[in-house]
Subunit: 538 residues, 2 copies
């Protein structure tokens, strides 16, 4: 890759870690402030080019799967180091393409490299393999027991769809890619049209890191093209074994439908749609309604509201506390100047879907922010509706991607519980509770943990911590598969499958299952966790 | 349930742990020896009755999910104890319905109760929760870190389809039911038509155990009906959250298709079709070809070949060793008297699919067993084909459920590797290897672990050990989801989803996440496994 300028996008894709220019129709990202296309253009991948990326991924699959966790960790660490080195160029390009503020983007580079290093550390920690050993019992009656061992290994090539709202942390080298590469799966990224240049710069970093750490060609490719054509082609390809996606409900459902039409089913991890209900319990509302209203508005308008975990729904019992909350939130929203959204298309969709929600029966607008300026400005918006009406109209649950939220005023706690019961699956459910509210919170908690992937108290759902315990997932339509998370180290499990080894000679076993435990991994010996070597050598 | 005779089937289903007689068309199991229907008849579930079972499961879902693991363990142990108590009646009824030998069925009752006790022990071991705690870091810069904790919890009501070939261990209280109940999911069983009386007796045991251990009504139901009508209805019901199935490829694909048509996708764990390749490497074949042939035939004809892991394919390089293997296997197959299969329909399908395989281009029959007698007898059958032809015709991979196997004679090791490369996904892949074969075995192993859920050396795939390390699963078409296993304690993970708790007060957290770790479960504290309580109380 040394023949390419490191910091200037060229319009190329990456196929098998080499720069390749597409031969299809040219597409461009758009500056959301001006609506003008940004140079360079990116010719889309042809069918042959997509096929080539899939074939290289298939060819690399076994070699990459069987690299040691230590070598994959070095690969991830190297990507992280190079991202940090290229930080300024990445921030500049992403700022041009997304209009996200430079400090936010600087933080996002750090989040992306930290995430890669976390997966590298996870690879070295020796837990992810899920190693299990049931030693032989040659003297068991009536039949002897064979020696059986189990570990998880990579599922095969993964296609990752870059997300519009995190040009770094959920795109080319973001969480899906990091977890799939950690698992030992080759990755093919479909770059998001909103930030093609950023995607190219990051893809080049991944390529360089792959070459420098001796990874097989085909471990990483990035293609450019439309979701309908290239996306469907990749999801349908028999060599592809899993999908990671973050985006709209319609996009996720289209991918799930394409996957369902495959002769061979594969896991689809689509993180799609969530309105992230916030419950304000009576004690908290009474004690600090206005304070909560201001804090809520800050979470709502953060990043122009363009977060999967944006608080799009507030549930509370009507009364003075909720009035104070609403007044404070309305005031803060009215003071918001408006912000440029990620793309003109997203801004148009935001305005239209907000208008549709505001136009539904019983919905009133309590506040609206400034219009801002530029081609893609989003105005913050606060709506209210009563609980009975909300419970009766599923359309009121439609996600408006951006800084719009709906306050549901319930007549009493029974109505609030009824509203909870009709909600679709969510990424998060938030409770604001004072000590006096805890008995009620305790009764609601079982409902909330069935509703969402993450339940939080006295905070705001935006700001997803990357760690071991995070779950960024949840029941449909938050995702297509509630068994996974797309943030945190548990994300690696989405791309693994278990394999058992019966009476396989020690010399042939994967390292994590050998008697001597050379990697020092955690294993369940007859069910009991241990890092010890096997006492009796076979 | 005390008003019912314990050991005599009455024709009833179980809905919400109560005996209920269906109101649909009556169906009966058939004595496979005589082809005659067995009393009593079982009227099928009406749409209303199926709806009632689903509604009760939904109603029980939260209460059952939030029982302590210790209480669920007591429930499973009680089922096991009652099954052992009722053993003789179960064996007699199952013998009448399936023609499986009494000693085999006696063993299967023991396997079923041992499996329930293993899951009870797993619930007490405190690993399955996957608990993780990332403690708060209030002083972190630039932003403090919240306290985030994670555990897995039940996914919701599960529908289990009983299997024909294990009337106890894979049916009403078999592996799918045991793992789903352990996870905290209510279960609705669709009884298999081949052994309705056995299914009723076992369902009654589960009901009694549920009542005696104070489980909520709706934790268990069993319905009778056709796969097309009742099966599709249950798979499509919005209250059902996961499916467990063991059976034919056509049955599994029909269920997967019905599930794919749901608005809300759910996990489908269908264990369907596998021909379980056995590789005979040159050294082993040379040293003990005849011995291997006799042992292979014993595995092939065990239980009339009616095992998911039946060795339906043998791969080896042609030569004197393979000739000796084939001769010995042919002799043993010819000496097999034939055996009554599970149902007349299965016997008819066995004969027809065997004839279809034998009729394919290039296939030769080397041996055939006796015709046996009775309405549903299956004759063992040994076929051969050369490797080049096998690699060119996918139809040669069709599973023949029963004691038929195809020996693929490869010209050389390259051709054997080519054949391996075209195989569909499998439950098992077996290698027979002597010391001199180990380098070759080592080169093949990565292919085998991508091909199958279990790789075994110098044994036979029949006889699936129930333990912590077993994987009974594998890539499609062995199953619809290679991330799961339907045997062994890992099976519980199929019915769990992760939930994160952010800054939730200790008193409200699930026990496994509380600071003091009252259940003594294994948890990852900032990533490191530990059973210790949290050092610093919040």
């Amino acid at each position: 890759m040394s023949d390419l300028p490191r910091t200037r996008p060229t319009g190329a894709m990456v196929i098998g870690t080499r720069p390749v220019t597409g031969t299809g129709e040219e597409i461009r990202s758009v500056d959301p402030r001006t609506g003008q296309p940004i140079e360079p253009g990116y010719p889309a991948a042809s069918a042959d080019q997509a096929d080539r990326a899939c074939e290289l991924a298939r060819e690399a699959s076994t070699a990459y799967r069987t690299t040691t966790p230590q070598r994959r960790a070095a690969f991830l660490d190297r990507i992280a180091d190079l991202l940090d080195t290229e930080r300024d160029a990445l921030v500049e390009r992403a700022h041009t393409e997304t209009a996200l503020p430079r400090p936010r983007l600087t933080g996002e580079v750090g989040r992306t490299s930290a995430q890669l290093r976390l997966f590298a550390a996870e690879l070295r920690a020796g837990v992810w393999q899920g190693a299990r050993i049931d030693p032989a019992q040659p003297d068991r009656r009536p039949l002897p027991r064979a020696d059986i061992r189990q570990r998880r290994t990579a599922i095969g090539p993964v296609v990752v769809f870059g997300a519009s709202n995190f040009p770094l942390a959920f795109s080319t080298a973001g969480g899906d890619t990091a977890s799939a590469l950690a698992a030992g799966c080759p990755v093919i990224v479909k770059a998001h049209q909103a930030h093609l240049g950023t995607a190219e710069l990051v893809a080049r970093v991944v390529s360089r890191a792959a070459a420098e750490t001796g990874m097989p060609e085909g471990v990483f490719s990035q293609l450019v093209g439309s979701g309908t054509e290239l996306g469907t082609r990749l999801v349908s390809d028999p060599r592809v074994r899993a999908i990671g996606f973050t985006g709209s409900r319609s996009g996720g459902l289209a991918i799930a439908a394409a996957a369902a039409a495959r002769p061979v089913p594969i896991p689809v991890y689509a993180e799609m749609s969530s309105i992230n209900p916030v419950l304000l319990l009576p004690g908290a509302l009474k004690a600090r309604g206005a304070e909560l209203g201001a804090a809520f508005a800050a979470s709502l308008t953060l990043g122009a509201g363009q977060f999967c975990t944006n608080p799009g729904l507030v549930l509370a019992v009507a009364g003075p506390g909720l009035d104070a909350f609403t007044a404070a939130a309305t005031e803060a929203v009215a003071a918001d100047p408006g912000a440029t959204m990620l793309t003109p298309a997203i801004a148009r969709h935001y305005a239209a879907s907000g208008d549709a929600l505001a136009g539904l029966d019983g919905v009133e607008e309590t506040g609206r922010g400034g219009e801002g300026d530029g081609a893609a400005c989003g105005r913050a918006r606060l709506l209210t509706v009563d609980g009975r009406r909300f419970a009766g109209d599923p359309a009121l649950q439609t996600e408006v991607f951006g800084a719009t939220s709906l306050i549901v005023r319930c007549a009493d706690l029974d109505e609030l519980t009824t509203v909870l019961g009709v909600l679709e699956g969510q990424l998060t459910a938030t409770v604001h509770a004072d000590d006096a509210d805890l008995p009620l919170a305790g009764r609601l908690l079982p409902l909330l943990e069935e509703l969402a992937g993450r339940v939080l108290f006295n905070g705001w759902p935006t700001g997803v911590e990357v760690g071991h315990a995070m779950v960024h997932g949840g029941p449909f339509p938050a995702t297509t598969d509630p068994r996974g998370t797309s943030v945190g180290t548990l994300a690696i499990e989405r791309f693994l499958r278990p394999v058992a080894y019966q009476d396989v000679p020690d010399a042939l076993l994967p390292d994590e299952l050998r008697d001597g435990n050379p990697l020092g991994v955690w294993r369940r010996l007859d069910g009991a966790p241990s890092r010890a070597p096997l006492a009796d050598e076979r």
